[in-house]
Symmetry: none
Subunit: 216 residues, 4 copies
């Protein structure tokens, strides 16, 4: 929406030009994870980067636009992570699904700020993330859907409705990440154990004999 965007959109020239935009985004992310969405304000970002609040508006039309940009980045990053994972195990659906689950959880734990605005914000609390972007968001689920379908075709998964199953898998992963981020999991349980169990059981619920994932 401003000249910078228009003229140099994705150019990584490194000049002082797009840098501030980048800095704003990064700072917003950091504040987001530290203080939460409710406490993220244009002023706080400005104070943090030692610029006037007005300056932020040179790079983002308004607070929502800034958030949307952040969401977009998060979606892209998650997509990249999942895509890399899916390519690694392209011919082993069970192992692939397992890897995708782990990748999703890792993404959430490694990028709590992205995760919060991507998946934990109630829609009524923010001007709706533009519809076109939603489509892109849903692409991320396609990786799971594909693994599930392929596994079903190969007889290693029992799946009634792939669409529904994709969503319930997502629910499990989302719950796992959310509880961990909110520090709600029993502290006596090791994080890794919890994650491994969550993933294993999630996959197990789609394998015919209920046996552990047969590694491919």
């Amino acid at each position: 929406m401003n000249a910078v965007n228009h003229c140099m959109s994705a150019s990584p020239t490194g000049s002082s030009n797009g840098d501030l935009r980048r800095t704003i985004l990064d700072t917003a992310r950091h504040l987001l994870v530290q203080k939460g969405y409710q406490n993220l304000s244009m002023r706080k970002i400005a104070r943090e980067i030692d610029y006037s609040a007005t300056s932020i508006y040179l790079y983002f039309d308004n607070k929502d636009a800034l958030l949307h940009a952040l969401i977009h980045e998060g979606m892209m990053k998650l997509y990249a992570d999942l895509d890399a994972t899916a390519h690694q195990y392209s011919d082993a659906p069970v192992r692939r699904l397992e890897a995708l689950c782990n990748a999703f959880i890792e993404f959430g734990l490694a990028n709590p700020e992205y995760y919060e605005i991507m998946f934990q914000l109630r829609p009524e609390r923010m001007k709706r993330y533009p519809a076109e972007k939603y489509r892109q968001a849903r692409q991320n689920l396609e990786f799971f859907s594909a693994a599930l379908t392929q596994g079903a075709d190969a007889g290693v998964f029992e799946v009634e409705d792939p669409r529904v199953s994709t969503s319930t898998i997502w629910a499990s992963l989302h719950g796992t990440v959310s509880l961990l981020l909110a520090e709600r999991v029993d502290v006596r349980i090791e994080r890794e154990t919890f994650i491994d169990t969550a993933v294993r059981q999630t996959i197990r619920s789609y394998t015919p004999s209920g046996q552990p994932a047969p590694s491919g």
Copy 2:
């Protein structure tokens, strides 16, 4: 809505104002449910009950204390719901677990704002919910734990570590509720189908043969 009303006090309780604390909590809950956590302010509560904002501070040290009390109430309510459910199927662990899952989800969907402050608020962003309360909160998980253990003893569940499994079940349920509340589930999927599938798969992942819950 203010002093005038106060004088003609048409409040349904009609009792003396010794239980103003009670009224505050009830009103806070109502506002929470109707307007959301973000819109819950001391002022609004006060306006609603026709008392001065100052009065609230006679009963609660600050907003956080009020919120803690609310969370406590939510925990109690959830406990009551789960307790009632557990009693109904005290001798059928699978069916009981299934019912508990459904009860949990129903609670979340029926009390979205309660659910938010109980499970979705990050502790680091609120003056820490006192540790003792957390213990009480964990009681709610005991219902699931018990069903799981009992089922394992009866051979209808395969459970390695009940503590961990309880948490992963909880993760699934939490994810299910969260996605629904955030309106993130594919709109083409019927809500009931989604919930039923989520619960069924969750339980299925703990049954030896992977077959659907054998009704007891």
Copy 3:
């Protein structure tokens, strides 16, 4: 809208209570005439009276409510002025109309701040002054209407449609006041001459022979 209003509405107890409300109104009026409507801000009022901006909101729901209160006061004052005038010449319609015209102009010149918000504000620039108050505002025109009608009955005025004529008389007076307040009148013309001529011609336009007002 707040306790002060409700409990002591018009009581002139002189305690420190309603005083601030009064001070706010007076200060707003002064700022209004000095800086104009566009430059009237809650903060400026607050700064002027050495109170926090927040305090103003204890006495007025918002800026509009403050303006409305001011308009209301102006309407009341104008009504009082016109009423007093009308009573003085209750049986001499021409002289009465003349006196009413002068009273209106004098009111405008003596209370430019009231005049501006009462008559010069474009409706789209302020949330509409509540309808009930408009009725009261129109009452002020009734004095002119009555004089005109009575004069027509007595044969000293030629009036086709009293309603329309009342409005055109008002237009003349409003134009006279507005030009004077905006300091747009040729400086070589004495203010009194201008006013007298304006009033005389206005009345003359309704007298049958075009002769000057026959003093009764």
Copy 4:
């Protein structure tokens, strides 16, 4: 609306940008008419013409200077309107005065925002509109003055002091336009009726027998 457009410059003028000053004024006028004086900002003008806000300052010292130029243009336009009218009825003073009155009112209603900055802005609230321009502004009144004097010479008008009378006529017209623009006229009165009556009575007040304008 920004740099991109700028490059493809689909501006209707197509001429070189030597007359950017002209474009700025035109755009400012459009915005003034469409959005009102309050919404006229340097930024918005700049955005509209696809130039940087800074560029405007190359042609106008500040916002006031721009506004002055706009007022000047308005005065010129009004002058042109009145001039054309005066020429049409150069030998019929009554009809001419009537036409001038109508032309003035029409100008005000057709150019409400022009009218606002020309006649409704209080000088003390804007860096003083330069004195020399005021003189030019007064030229517009000369048309009325001339008609009045000529009519007086011809015996169709009774005028004591043409200067004063010109001003009171102006007051009537200004009041008429102002009330209409402020939407303060009784809605039950047709606009045309109101205007016709206002003009008729205004002229009537200068005709000896008080009879309606004798068409010449």
